[in-house]
Amino acid sequence: MRMKIDTKLIKAMTWAALLAASQLPAIAASQVLASIGAMQVTSDELNAAIASSPFSTQFAAMNEDDQAGLRGDMLRRLVASRLLTLEAQRLGLDKSSDYRQDIENFRLGLVYRHYMDKLRERIVVPPDTLAEMKQQMKGDADGLAAAKAAYISNQYKLLKQTTLENLKNQDHVVLHEERIKPGIKPDTVLMEGKSFHIKYADIVNPREHSTLPNPEWIKEQLYKRGELLLIANAADKLGVDVSGKLKQYQKERLPALMLETKTREWISSEKTLHDWFDKHPEVATIPERRHIGQLVVATRKEAEALRARILKGESLFTLAGQYSIDPLGRKQNGDIGWLVAGRGMPELDRASAKLEDGKVSDVIETRAGFHLLTVLERQPMSRKTYAGVRDRIAQLIINEKLPPYLGDLERRYKVSWNVIQARDDSAQKVLKQ
């Protein structure tokens, strides 16, 4: 955990310093911010990545230094992604049949959606129906928009159905549902037309299903695949161009595939996870939590006097409300809420660990003053099961392995940065936050 924070801080410092002067809205022309072998990351790409990130809304409301820190972090990710792409290409992952199949499926999906969008765009609400809707909705803009959407959606369903029927007839599509039975082979053809055929292996992955799945489920996959291929085929005949989106997908898919490949190498079996768990049992520990009351004053003498009053029966909380030098503590009458064991001031952590519930502690000296504590109640330490932390372990292993791996790649492929050096103090500000 601590290591993660340190890495974050170092990143924030380095990259805030490098990027403080860059701005989000694209300057006239896109600049190359980094080159990685023959690849690049441009300022436009960085801006697009930020705009499509989950923090894009907060980003706009951040101060310049914080924005610079985040831009730096994002640039680092984009460079890492390029490094993974280059490595994937070197290893020929982009030539593998799995990758090609993946890209082709994505392409089919794109042309399918394009065709269907065009189909939907052709539907207009007839003027008299529209007039009727406006009358019914009496100027309720949300309602009118929803009514239009509902009308179009209904019409679209009908149009889609007739379009599919026509395409099926044109292609003379034949279904072989009766072949879905035990003993089916990967290359058993389940649907065929003039321009395509669907085999069992196209819809059911034998690696995921060793036995025959529910036939109804298989049929559903079959119809879906059939619809996809028929429509995509019709779209291809019209010459639909999806190369832009496809390129973008390939750009994202290849580094992800490289990372998946490396992850399978790092976590080769369940045993890897178990071994790591055995070595790091603390990963499953939920530390003890203590509900603490506290009184803090400036001198030991004062603290001892108050302790004596508490022992005679006065309430620590009432006294804290009157005498505590900590303004928040005074305001809350000494109730400082639940503290997690192992965090906060070590002197107080140690004292509260061994203090019996409901008793007042001895006077404890810290840099903040002289404290008296009491523990109202505690939730004991507990442990999660292996199953409960399995995913977290996998992530921790990746976190551990990825930085050195990317370091190796950075040495293999020359990375050069074209970012503006900012003043040191801006990085310092980011560090403090």
């Binding site: 894009s56 980003f59 310049e64 019914q136 100027g139 929803a146 009514a147 009308y151």
Partner: protein, 196 residues
């Protein structure tokens, strides 16, 4: 045939409209009613007596990000889009990108977008800088001005919310949720063609 079609689209419309209300973001502490009453042209009931215009309402005076106090009356004679928003609201930011384009395109015809930011000044300033907002932003502390949005006809407090005021000060249209190009074309554009 048409009759049943009408019924079904009305039913779906009601469901969808309730959905869009919930999808908005409420500034109000109380819960949003499942179906808020329609807000649109003339939806705000004019009180008996003098006509209800933007100028007959209680005026607000709020600091702008330019450091000067502003009242809405400064823009009398223009077609005003008074837009209630906050920096934490994603659909507000999406809409602002469109508003920047509208302001740029229709400035000469007298369009004046006025952003009313229900948020902390520094955050509003950051968004103004980041998105390069080209119209005035007034700062309204949400704790002190929680009622402002209600006074302008939005009982649920859902943002984004936009009030369209014509050159005579008539409140022509109010819009909850992001105001996109089609709503702009239908409700604001016609007001811009008639010169004052």
């Amino acid at each position: 045939m048409f009759r049943s079609g009408t019924l079904s689209f009305l039913f779906v419309a009601a469901v969808l409209a309730a959905g869009t209300t919930v999808a908005g973001v409420s500034l109000a502490a109380e819960s949003i009613p499942a179906r808020t009453p329609p807000q649109a042209a003339g939806a705000m009931n004019p009180p008996a007596g003098p006509p209800d215009t933007a100028w007959s309402r209680e005026a607000f005076s709020l600091p702008g990000l330019d450091g000067v106090k502003h009242t809405l009356a400064e823009w009398k004679g223009k077609v005003i889009m008074l837009n209630f928003w906050a920096t934490w609201c994603p659909s507000c930011q999406t809409e602002i990108s469109d508003f920047i384009a509208f302001q740029e395109e229709y400035r000469a015809q007298g369009l004046q977008v006025v952003g009313l930011g229900l948020d902390v000044e520094q955050k509003l300033r950051n968004v103004q800088r980041t998105l390069e907002i080209n119209y005035p932003i007034l700062v309204a502390d949400p704790a002190r001005h929680a009622n402002l949005i209600r006074q302008w006809g939005n009982s649920s407090g859902v943002i984004p919310y936009t009030v369209v005021i014509d050159r005579e000060g008539q409140i022509i249209y109010t819009h909850r949720g992001p105001l996109h190009r089609d709503a702009f074309d239908e409700n604001v554009l016609p007001l811009l063609s008639g010169k004052h």
